[in-house]
């Protein structure tokens, strides 16, 4: 898969049998819809297929950050904020292909998760906890 920011090849990191695509240049990560489904269903959440759909329901964030293109379909993605008011802004593919986290966003997200007490059994929280788990540093 090609990194939507650097246009270079990404490599894949598999952890707890779930995969992420990771760019070693910008440290961004692509979370594929199918993999998210596996993560959420392993965690016991029912409708894993709805994950990207749920994220897409969040309002579009107003920002000057450049639009990112989905590495699967090449179309512009939607910028949304997950993890509440002080959350991080990520990119979600309108075609439900997956979510993109910029390098800095992964770091911010880890801070937020550390401040929270544990992981809730809920889509956003589960995704963020998994990312923290993978990139614990």
């Amino acid at each position: 898969m090609i990194c939507p920011v650097c246009n270079k090849d990404m490599f894949v990191i598999e952890y707890k049998r779930v995969e992420l695509d990771y760019c070693h240049i910008c440290k961004g990560a692509w979370f594929d819809a199918g993999e998210m489904e596996l993560l959420l269903e392993t965690a016991g959440l029912k409708d894993g297929t709805q994950a990207v759909h749920d994220v897409l329901k969040l309002p579009e964030a107003h920002t000057a950050e450049k639009k990112r293109r989905c590495p699967i379909c090449g179309k512009n993605m939607k910028k949304v904020i997950i993890g509440g008011e002080k959350g991080v802004m990520i990119d979600a593919c309108f075609q439900h292909h997956g979510l993109w986290f910029d390098g800095g966003e992964v770091a911010d997200l880890m801070k937020i998760v550390s401040e929270q007490a544990g992981c809730k059994k809920e889509t956003e929280s589960e995704i963020m906890c998994f990312l923290k788990d993978v990139f614990q540093g």
Binding site: H24, A33, G34, E41
Partner: protein
């Protein structure tokens, strides 16, 4: 549909060359060339447009086994080639001009999502397309359709030019010809008819094409039930396809009828007259209401019941020839595993196969993460994003 092509050719000839036969010959020559190309190269073109990769038995043993089972059940002589398309969307299709040059293709997404019974149902459906030479029929139909569309398109353009430069359009030219039997009135009538036909012909052709395609889909579903003796497998696969919302990456209008479900199903709500595939829910309902057996006769009965009509979809002769076949029970899926685990292993297996085929290298880091590195990055140092250990890729 052939008759439509002949009509169009004749009218073009009549309008432009005052000679119906000349137009006819042109139409037939164009159609002949396109048919030859489609016949000998069609499957290769289609497979490369879809980005399919051929796999061997060792790449995915289960898929190979299922195809072999269905090949035996259908009575095909030659084992079809198996192709994988690296695409997260869910779809499958069959190609090949005859059963000896056939291939089945399946997207990696579909391979991940289906269990063995469902996979068997889908492969049974595709094998039926091969067995009944549907692919040849469908590609010949699409070539014929293509020729009609091309001819009408260019003919209408030429008439516009004729109208601008010839100062009277086709009719004017035709009038100048000595052969024209009637007066100006007849010429105008023919011109109007020709224009009408040129506008309507592609529409008609498309409708006929769609009707043929849909009938073939029902037959393939019925055959899949017959070969697998387990209609619930295909029904459950179709349910998974129905839920999926990812559109197929490389599908075009022309290749649409080849897929197991319409690849454009989410773009717009196509109405029933112009869709290449019957509505999914209807196909599922028919398969689900098959009772008492897996034979064509049982499918036909279920079809009548669901559609609430007296006319069946399968001819009585072929239904009788297939005889009676009992249903089988669901396969106990090997070792008893919770379904989620099963799904995770299936996904990992299929993905790892795709990585092997694309020459990825796998590094197992001590921290428990696995790094899968594409060929372009091999040879350089790679830091594990989890624990920071450096690895030589």
């Amino acid at each position: 549909m052939g008759a439509l092509l002949v009509f169009i050719g004749w009218f073009i000839g009549l309008v432009f060359a005052a000679n119906g036969i000349a137009g006819l010959v042109i139409a037939l020559i164009i159609w002949g060339i396109m048919t030859l190309v489609a016949y000998f190269q069609g499957d290769n073109i289609l497979l490369s447009v879809a980005g399919a990769k051929k796999i061997s038995p060792s790449d995915h043993q289960q898929l190979y086994d299922v195809v072999e089972e269905m090949k035996i059940a259908s009575g095909l002589e030659k084992m079809p080639d198996i192709y994988i398309i690296d695409d997260p969307s869910l779809n499958a299709f069959a190609t090949g001009r005859d059963p000896n040059h056939a291939a089945v293709s399946i997207t990696s997404g579909l391979l991940q999502k289906l269990n063995r019974d469902e996979l068997q149902g889908v492969i049974g459906h595709e094998i039926s397309h091969i067995k009944h030479r549907d692919v040849l029929l469908m590609s010949m139909c699409s070539v014929l359709l293509g020729t009609i569309v091309i001819l009408s398109f260019y003919a209408s353009r030429m008439m516009m030019f004729g109208a601008i430069f010839g100062g009277g359009g086709g009719g004017g030219r035709r009038g100048s010809s000595k052969n024209s039997g009637g007066g100006g009135g007849a010429a105008i009538i023919i011109l109007v008819l020709a224009i009408l036909l040129m506008i309507l012909a592609p529409l008609f052709a498309q409708l006929i094409y769609f009707a043929i395609s849909r009938k073939r889909e029902y037959l393939a579903d019925a055959s899949s039930a017959l070969y697998t003796r387990y209609p619930a497998g295909l029904a459950s696969a179709l349910e998974k396809l129905e839920q999926s919302t990812t559109p197929v990456k490389n599908a075009t209008q022309a290749t649409a009828p080849m897929y197991i479900v319409n690849p454009f199903r989410n773009k717009l709500n196509v109405n029933n007259l112009t869709s290449t595939h019957p509505p999914l829910e209807e196909r599922i309902r028919i398969l689900r209401s098959m009772a008492g057996g897996a034979a064509y006769a049982n499918y036909d009965q279920a079809y009548r019941q669901v559609k609430n009509t007296n006319s069946g979809i399968i001819s009585p002769q072929s239904a009788a020839a297939a005889g009676t076949v009992g249903l089988r029970a669901a396969v106990a899926g090997g070792p008893v595993e919770p379904p989620v685990d099963d799904k995770v292993s299936r996904t990992r297996d299929v993905n790892d196969m795709m990585y092997r085929m694309n020459d990825y290298k796998t590094i197992e880091c001590e921290c428990g993460a696995k790094l899968k590195v594409p060929p372009s990055m091999q040879g350089s140092m790679i830091k594990c994003p989890r624990c920071g250990r450096a690895h030589q890729a």
